[in-house]
């Protein structure tokens, strides 16, 4: 009976995602070629955009057809430069940043055309949380102020993931490498409810958060982790299971959703409101307020309510908690649901400014770990503080290093922190060796 329920729940998990699968059809050309499809964030093909392919003494300019598809047949394999003429883009569509108009492409295969994509958004390029990062204001300090605000917003995304990871770790001692997939699930469900079901975005987001809390928390715990706890599987084995699960879910998401990054509708391309040197879009403000409310609720629950106290008791000593009449399994289920809800919202918040892709979880997982370790493994407050520091550090580092290396900087700092203060800022000193 329980098995049947589990299978039914699994089917429930997969069913809404199945309809995400986009249809892609492309006739294969003969000989080496570069090809691509230009689509608006809403998914309509962009016609009449001119694209130039140059290199190896060859140059050709083509324009995209009604479906937004374009293709250049090349004389030979080799390295080419692909340029999109920004002035031919339709009204209201732009690249995420101007320097993305030129890309290089190395064509190796004679059979399979090389696909080139251009990141397009509605309106002018939006300020991205943790993504491109447009630098507002003038001068070094203006930039620093803007980046600090961006960093706090990005830190909130990491914190939502990190608090959940920390709660799960605290109660079950599971180091969950599949936690990033909870964020990806949230983003994908928001896309599902807003674009495919057609709910307005402000309705779609709460629905997606509830759905990820149910699927990612309740169902995941019931299908995967609860049976393993019953079996008495060891912690190292559970860690490896979470890696297998992460691999499985990532490619399930890719299978169902396709490889492209898609933009959530509704808020795209808002103008920023200027406060001194800082420009913030209403979208980011609403998202950040939502994050703060969720985090505050979580900490209130953890500190003041009966079940929150039970959670802390389980984290402290599961055997003793169980002996004093606390239903440990029930506490763990609650923790999973809360962690998945927080993670889902984090994924949506990231997706609002950076788009949804199947790799959303992989992109953020290590930063979440960095936040958790910086604050101290297993303490929710530490995870919050550590994450905000990681977020601000990442954005501010753009002032000194190329922005594509900013995540690298954060991970290097993670390693250095472990060297100096392994228990983190608020962690308890507990070490082997």
């Amino acid at each position: 009976m329980i098995k049947r329920v589990r299978v039914a729940l699994l089917a429930l998990l997969i069913a809404p995602l199945l309809s995400l699968s986009p249809a892609v059809a492309q006739d294969a050309p003969s000989g080496p070629a570069i090809t691509g499809t230009l689509e608006s964030p809403g998914g309509e093909g962009l016609a009449g955009v001119s694209i130039t392919v140059e290199g190896n003494g060859f140059s050709e300019t083509v324009t995209s057809n009604e479906a937004g598809e374009w293709q250049v047949i090349l004389p030979d394999t080799g390295a080419y430069q692909v340029t999109l003429d920004v002035s031919t883009l339709p009204e209201g569509i732009s690249l995420t940043s101007e320097d993305r108009a030129v890309t290089s492409a190395t064509v190796i295969s004679r059979e399979r055309p090389k696909r080139i994509g251009f990141p397009l958004v509605e309106g002018d390029a939006p300020a991205a949380v943790g993504g491109g990062g447009t630098i507002g204001g003038a001068g070094f300090w203006g930039q620093a102020a803007q980046l600090t605000v961006d960093g706090l917003a990005f830190g909130l995304v990491i914190a939502l993931g990190a608090v959940g990871l920390s709660l799960v770790y605290g109660t079950t001692k599971l180091v969950n490498f599949a936690h990033g997939e909870l964020l990806a699930l949230g983003g994908l469900l928001a896309y599902f409810f807003s674009v495919l079901v057609g709910l307005p975005i402000l309705v779609a987001i709460p629905v997606a958060v509830l759905a990820s809390a149910f699927l990612g928390g309740y169902v995941q715990n019931l299908v995967v982790w609860k049976p393993l706890r019953k079996r008495g599987t060891g912690l190292t084995a559970l860690l490896v299971v979470s890696i297998g699960l992460a691999l499985f879910l990532q490619y399930l998401f890719l299978f169902l959703f396709g490889g492209r990054t898609r933009i959530l509708p509704g808020f795209a391309g808002q103008a920023g409101i200027n406060i001194g040197p800082i420009a913030v879009t209403p979208r980011d403000m609403i998202a950040a307020v939502g994050a703060v409310v969720l985090l505050a609720l979580t900490f209130w629950w953890l500190g003041k309510t009966q079940s929150g106290k039970a959670t802390r008791a389980v984290a402290d000593n599961p055997a003793l908690a169980s002996a004093s009449g606390i239903n440990v399994e029930k506490v763990i289920t609650t923790v999973w649901v809360i962690a998945a809800g927080l993670g889902g919202y984090a994924g949506i918040m990231f997706a609002l400014s950076n788009g949804v892709s199947w790799q959303l979880g992989v992109q953020l997982l290590l930063l979440i770990f960095a936040g958790v370790i910086l604050g101290g493994l297993g303490t929710a407050t530490g995870a919050l503080i550590g994450s905000l520091i990681v977020g601000v550090f990442i954005q501010l580092s753009v002032l000194f290093i190329p922005s594509e290396l900013k995540y690298v900087g954060a991970l290097v700092v993670l390693i250095i922190v472990l060297l100096i203060r392994p228990q983190g800022i608020l962690g308890r000193k507990e070490r082997v060796g």
Binding site: V24, S104, T106, V175, F177, L228, R231, G232, T233, G234, L235, T236, A237, L239, V240, V241, I243, G244, L245, A246, L247, F248, L249, Q250, Y251, L252, L254, F255, V362, L366, F369, A370, I373, L377, P402, E404, L405, Y407, V408, L411, V412, L414, I415, I416, L418, L419, P422, E430, R431, V432, G433
Partner: protein
């Protein structure tokens, strides 16, 4: 459906260079995880150091291939020290997080646009930089042996060298684990405090195991770079490490031949499934609405993830392992 062709391709894959690369990576993990119990999730980083040392020193700097191999091995030693010093004194999961982060640092650094002139960005480095190695090629044509067919004389040569290399490392592992050193690292895996109370410097032994396994992992990267004469940063993502773990657990951790057997079986199954699905889709037996040809790779990766989960839960000793050798549950 051409089952004959599917089998020839799958059986050739069993001895091919991909099998060799992953067997080497898993042999390194076997020393770290299988015998010493260290959770190194950054094997891709060690391999990337080996591969990029070869490519950068030969193609970018124009130095000798032999020097580049030497630099790759030294690089792995240094990387192991950097990872080990902060984490080996801590609980096992810290090492896992730091190694996976460090491997990602390497991958994102070599694929960055700002360092394009040294590392070639996301396209990596391609060139005929392993000429020195292939000048020793004794084969003047492709060899074939039963159903196993190699593409070229070059492929035949590198494959033979690869298996000799695996043989040497298997021999080394065998000698090491039955030496006093091997007994100490196994005792650390079983009970760290017990070995410490016997006066063993646990930290030191763990460091040696991490570095040794890492050097073998960097050999995987070096071999890959010479075989393909090309390095691409995204080949060294955490997927590489996860595959190596699946292989190690499939074949049986803490078994000298475990990683080799695991790699052979893993790639046979993976290539067989891939080729079968490709033909089933191409002939229309599986309609396009269920599975498109570009989704076959994704299905294969999903199966790997599933296999890793099921193996570690239901058969942690793998096919040939000994359950008593794996004290997975004590940490």
């Amino acid at each position: 459906m051409d089952w004959g062709q599917i089998f020839v391709i799958s059986i050739t894959a069993m001895v091919g260079s991909t099998t060799i690369i992953y067997a080497l990576a898993a042999l390194g993990l076997n020393i770290q995880f299988g015998y010493t119990g260290l959770l190194n999730f950054g094997q891709a980083g060690f391999a990337a150091i080996g591969a990029y040392s070869v490519a950068v020193v030969t193609a970018t700097l124009g130095q000798s291939l032999w020097l580049s191999i030497f630099i790759g091995l030294i690089g792995a030693v240094i990387f192991g020290l950097i990872l080990g010093i902060p984490t080996l004194r801590l609980r096992a999961d810290y090492l896992a997080i730091v190694t996976i982060a460090a491997a990602e640092v390497i991958r994102q650094t070599v694929r960055s646009v700002s360092l394009n002139e040294y590392f070639g960005g996301s396209d990596g480095i391609t060139g005929k930089y392993a000429r020195e190695f292939y000048s020793f090629n004794p084969f003047d044509q492709a060899i074939s042996w039963g159903p196993i067919q190699f593409n070229s004389a070059q492929a035949s040569w590198i494959t033979v060298v690869g298996w000799v290399l695996i043989g040497l490392i298997v021999l080394l592992t065998w000698l090491l684990v039955r030496s006093p050193w091997g007994r100490v690292v196994k005792s650390i895996r079983e009970d760290e405090n017990a070995s410490r109370s016997l006066g063993k410097n646990v930290y030191f032994y763990k460091m040696q195991a991490l570095i040794l396994g890492g050097v073998v992992g960097s050999l995987a990267g070096i071999y890959w770079a010479i075989d393909a004469q090309s390095v691409q940063p995204d080949n060294y993502s955490s997927r590489f490490t996860f595959f190596a773990y699946t292989i190690l657990i499939l074949g049986g951790a803490a078994r000298v031949f475990g990683p080799v057997v695991g790699s052979i079986i893993f790639w046979f199954i993976l290539v067989f499934i891939g080729e079968s699905l490709t033909q089933l889709v191409a002939t229309g037996i599986i309609p396009d609405t269920i599975l498109r040809s570009d989704q076959i790779g994704q299905v294969r990766f999903m199966l790997v993830g599933l296999a890793l989960m099921l193996l570690i839960v239901y058969r942690p000793q793998g096919i040939f392992g000994d359950k008593r050798e794996l004290a997975l549950d004590d940490r």
